[in-house]
Each structure stands twice: as structure tokens, then as C-alpha cells.
Symmetry: C2
Subunit: 168 residues, 2 copies
């Protein structure tokens, strides 16, 4: 039985990620916990910023954020969120990262990609045949690289099954 009050949100970053893609969602879920606390209720989310190395990761703007290692298979993930940024072009060739995304996407309750984070889920094969969106400037590249996807650059988000994609 899942404990509703402890939904684990795992936000994945990699060298060259876009800081707001990760910090924005982190603060939304953390803020929901604080708002619940202000109402006298228990917070619902545990939020983790994770990377392959589990050490500080440098973003595309130079900001460095502390991370923990990618959660192991025994750790239940409620929401798996993949950040984007210029670094996705290199990160999708990181076999350890992509293997982890492939495995954990299957088991997470829901999976979300921000901006070019869609390239990571696509490389892992998890967006095959799905309607997805990404940053407008990367939409043609995503479609060319992963022809089975149905890429639409216009929506502010698309939900296809448990896969949520957003342009920014």
C-alpha cells in the first residue's frame, strides 16, 4: 500500500542541465509541502535532486547544484521528472543514465519531462508512439531523431498515458 503522505518525487539532472527546469519543479513540490504545513496538514511529497554521480552538477549557466545518486531499484518513485537543457545532447549517450531512465520510467507512477528532457525519455524508448512536446527550438530535432514520436511543439504540456511532457 502506497503511503500517500510520502510520495517520492525524483528530479534528474546532468552536466549542462537548465537550472530552472529542475529548481522550478523542486520548489513547486516543496512549496506544496509548506502550504500543507501552514494548513496544519502533513506534506505529501519527498523531493530529491538526483544525478548519476551523486555529487554537485554544473548547469549550462554555471550554477552548481548538490545532488544525490539515482535511487536504487528498492526505492519506490512516485514522480520521475527529467530536466532539460543543452546538456541533454551529451546526456542521452550516458548509458548508465539512460538504462536507469528506461528501467525506472516503467515502474514510476508518472514520468514528466521538461524542455529537452524529452530527449532522455525518448532515447530510453519510453516515448515510442506517444504524443509529446518539447521546447519549440528542439521540436524538429526530436522528431527527426525519434521518428516514432508524434511531436507537437504548440501545447504547454501533453499527457499521454503516464507520460507528461512540457516545453519549459
Amino acid at each position: 500500500v502506497e503511503r500517500v503522505k510520502d510520495r517520492h518525487v525524483v528530479i534528474v539532472v546532468f552536466p549542462g542541465f537548465q537550472p530552472l527546469d529542475a529548481v522550478g519543479p523542486f520548489e513547486v513540490f516543496s512549496g506544496a509541502n509548506r502550504a500543507a504545513g501552514a494548513l496544519g496538514r502533513a506534506g505529501g511529497y519527498r523531493v530529491t535532486l538526483a544525478s548519476v554521480d551523486g555529487s554537485p552538477v554544473t548547469s549550462e549557466s554555471g550554477l552548481s547544484l548538490g545532488t544525490t545518486t539515482l535511487p536504487g531499484p528498492a526505492e519506490r518513485i512516485d514522480t520521475l521528472l527529467l530536466s532539460g537543457g543543452g546538456g541533454t545532447r551529451a546526456a542521452r549517450h550516458d548509458v548508465e543514465l539512460i538504462d536507469w531512465v528506461r528501467d525506472r520510467s516503467t515502474r514510476a507512477r508518472r514520468v514528466a519531462t521538461v524542455c529537452t528532457g524529452a530527449f532522455l525519455a525518448a532515447e530510453a524508448g519510453r516515448l515510442d508512439g506517444r504524443r509529446v512536446t518539447t521546447h519549440w527550438a528542439a521540436a524538429a530535432e526530436l522528431q527527426a531523431d525519434y521518428p516514432s514520436l508524434q511531436v507537437d511543439a504548440d501545447p504547454i504540456y501533453i499527457k499521454d498515458g503516464k507520460y507528461w511532457t512540457a516545453p519549459a
Copy 2:
């Protein structure tokens, strides 16, 4: 003569800062540089995230961001930006931080506070007699603690001389 192409933007954080107060402005100035580069022009800003200790600083949500030490007196600062967050209540008693803010605010071309970052500039005496704003939930406290300020919680920003204050 100031080199217009190398304006140093120093964003100050402290334990318990609000991550978006710092990361948002950091990405705005970094993004301006990237946009200029895409147009074939040199970027205009050098952006630094700084703290008293110069080591990773933990925010109020638990996110940890890498920082450098507060720039010394020989380092020219164009824009000094003070982030906010729950940690400002403790940070304003950090004598080293407040002394630095007092000294460098005088010499920076412009000074900006985000959210409760206004408490730091106020504690340093730099907002005395000025019209300022802060987060609506902290406006009464700011007014009570620093009676010489003219606190207005409504505007999305106030510019009084070289001092810019914003609620979030």
C-alpha cells in the same frame, strides 16, 4: 572606465534562502548573455552566486547551491542582488554579511532585493527613508522592524534611487 561588456552581477545567498529568488535572476542575466551570443554580440554580464562561506549553501527547501566567497573590496560590482527566504531572519544577524552588504551597497551601481532580501539591506541601513516593497506576508514585519522605511506591499517592484526592491 567601466567595461560595459563585463558588468559583474553578484547574487548573495545564505542558509535558508529561497532558491528561485537566486536562480531566477541568475538565469535572466545568463540568458541575456546567451541571447546576445546568438545574435553574434558579446554578452554583457558576469554572474556570481556568493555567500559568506563560499561553500555550498542549503536553501529553505533543502536544495544546495554552490557559491563563491563574497567579492573583496577590489572587485567592482555592477549589480548587487540580495535573495530572500525564511533564512533572512537569521542572516540579518550575521555581522560579517551585513557589514559586507553595507559597504558594497554604497559602491555598487545598483542594488536589488528579492522577497525578504529587503530585510538584509534594511538591517545594513541602506533602505532608511526609502520607499520599498517585499513579500506581502512580510511587509508588516519589515515596517515594524525598520520604521524609517516606507513599505508598500502592492507594487511588483519599487525603484528608489539605485535601490530596487521586489516582492518575489
